[in-house]
Amino acid sequence: MTTGATCIQVSDLTMAYGTRVIMRDLNFAVRRGEVFIIMGGSGCGKSTLLRHMIGLVPPAHGHVVVNGVDMWCGPEAERERQLRRCGVLFQSGGLWSSMTLGENVALPLQQYTTLSARAIADVVAFKLALMGLTGCEQLYPSELSGGMQKRAGLARALALDPDLLFCDEPSAGLDPVSARNLDDLIVTLSRSLGTTVVVVTHDLASIFAIGTTAIYLDNQTHTIIAEGNPAVLRDTCAQAAVRLFLQGGRAHGDTH
């Protein structure tokens, strides 16, 4: 997979809840076409970092620049226009429980495109078909299994054909086969549509299967201690904590 120009630049980012600093001095860039993995132990602030990148939480210090637009220093309208080019798959799907799947996927299209109602219905049916949810338009989220909710969430995230797709723990709560299928779906769709993907996960199978670049957030030092291709990091990273994480917690250093 060839990678191109920088599309997200995070510089000197410090994340804090009140006076409690979660992570400091984060510097990294996501390049176009990558599948970028944010990994780290439980509770280290992976999801918080994602929420900073999609503009839900203002940074305590530093900048998040998406497609050349600073998410917090520019005008509000510019930020919202930028967010429209981002799709987000939340950890539990984030589907609106009082709307059917069809309505969930149609809402962004109704809000931000000039397509006719008929065309929107066609697009919704197509997006659901891509996720293997053909004919599920009339179902409510509560009538779906966890895996189907994730796929429906993905259909909604991709409704507007975003340049950037953010996924928070896409494989959490799924069996290995469903998790793998969802990973494959994310990669297939993003390659076909040229989408850049940012994934927060600590699932090793996903990390090695789909990740092209990864950063490791460390709980002890509260910053990034490794960046690079996950397979390379597993074998050659200078930081023992990163090797241990990527080898699935087995303490021996040279085998896997």
């Binding site: 197509f126 769709l189 076909s192």
Partner: protein
């Protein structure tokens, strides 16, 4: 193949004969996206229709940006083409488009849902009646289950935490005092003002003390407290239990063998049955005070005189009737809140509906119970 220079922001196409006989070639140019005014699948098929053509192929040398609208169009072309005995050859399309078309084409045709026929009036009427009957049955069942749970609690074998009862007593008792005070004083003031206007016509303004005392103590104290608390706490019960239902908290109680009727409903019903009569006495007292403020100021009555009239007007039976009212209301409101919460479905909207219907049900049952108790008292001559 010649064509005008395409605008890179809009969709355009050119049709030419293909290399093999029976093949027509569609050249896609410019942008094919949500914003580029793409032609419809039907229009494209009409444009490429030629006698003897069996295959539609694509060339995309001049194709600019595209998004998922292009694979959607190709999927539609495939479906429409099949009806016209036209094969769509995907080989000339970008590999991304081919992947997405393959992904969107289900391996097995989806089962078509049966076409919905609108119900006749009789069917609708029947269904509504059945729903209503089911709803009544549910209320009776809930009442029974609550009674059983209360009986088990009285025998000491129910799974009820004393802390929960105390928490609920604080929530529906002490925390409700400010709003109950405000409402009952004002209700007393209103009765006194209206009463004075009427009684003045007969020159017996002094009886305003009797009027306020009897109406507050016998009925209105209990009713006002009931209505205020139905809106304040009854809806909160429904929302709380409904959210617990959504979060599978009630399911996790069940699997632990803790009956939710005992763990969640009994503390609330008990707290209300205890606190409502106390709140009612408090409201009665403040209502009489409100009336007295008006009586003393507007009629220049002596405070002692007013209190003596009040004392003469009210009997022990009046106070007891008021307390019975309030205890019944307490149980009804708590049960309405719990019932609506427990039968809540698993969505955010359902929680809102549960809270609303808890308030409506509480107020309707308060009014109905008041009528019933008043009628019974009339017959018994209390």
């Amino acid at each position: 193949m010649t064509m005008p220079t395409p605008d890179p922001q809009t969709s355009s196409y050119a049709v030419s004969p293909g290399a093999a006989p029976g093949v027509v070639c569609l050249a896609l140019c410019g942008a094919w996206t949500q914003t580029s005014a793409m032609p419809s699948a039907r229009a494209l098929l009409d444009a490429t229709a030629r006698p003897g053509v069996t295959t539609l192929a694509f060339t995309t040398q001049e194709l600019g940006v595209w998004d998922s609208m292009l694979p959607l169009l190709v999927t539609e072309l495939t479906a429409l083409g099949a009806a016209r005995h036209l094969t769509i050859d995907l080989a000339g399309l970008p590999s991304g488009v081919q992947t997405l078309v393959a992904l969107a084409t289900p391996t097995a045709p989806a089962a078509k849902p049966a076409p919905a026929t609108p119900d006749s009036l009789v069917q609708q009427l029947g269904r509504e009646t059945a729903t209503l009957a089911g709803w009544c049955a549910e209320m009776v069942c809930f009442f029974g289950a609550t009674t059983v749970a209360l009986a088990r609690w009285l025998r000491g074998s129910a799974c009820v935490r004393a802390n929960d009862v105390i928490l609920q007593i604080r929530e529906c008792g002490a925390n409700a005092l400010p709003i109950v005070s405000l409402v009952s004083v004002l209700v007393g003031v209103i009765f006194a003002f209206v009463g004075i206007l009427q009684l003045r016509q007969f020159g017996v303004e002094i009886y305003v003390a009797d009027l306020v005392a009897v109406i507050m103590i016998r009925v209105m104290g209990a009713v006002m407290v009931g209505i205020v608390l139905a809106g304040r706490t009854g809806s909160a019960f429904a929302a709380q239990l409904g959210t617990m239902q959504v979060n599978e908290e009630i399911d996790s109680l069940r699997v632990l063998g803790i009956p939710p009727m005992e763990f969640l409903v009994v503390p609330r019903v008990v707290a209300w049955a205890v606190m409502m009569p106390l709140l009612c006495l408090y409201a009665d007292f403040l209502g009489v005070c409100g009336g007295m403020v008006v009586g003393v100021n507007a009629l220049h009555l002596n405070i002692i005189e007013y209190l003596q009239r009040t004392q003469a007007a009210v009997s022990v039976a009046d106070v007891l009737v008021g307390l019975v009212h309030s205890a019944v209301f307490g149980v009804l409101i708590a049960m309405a809140g719990c019932l609506c919460g427990m039968r809540c479905r698993r969505s955010a909207e359902a929680v809102g509906q549960a809270a609303t219907s808890a308030v409506v049900m509480s107020i309707v049952s308060i009014i109905a119970a008041t009528s019933l108790i008043t009628a019974v008292c009339n017959v018994l001559g209390i």
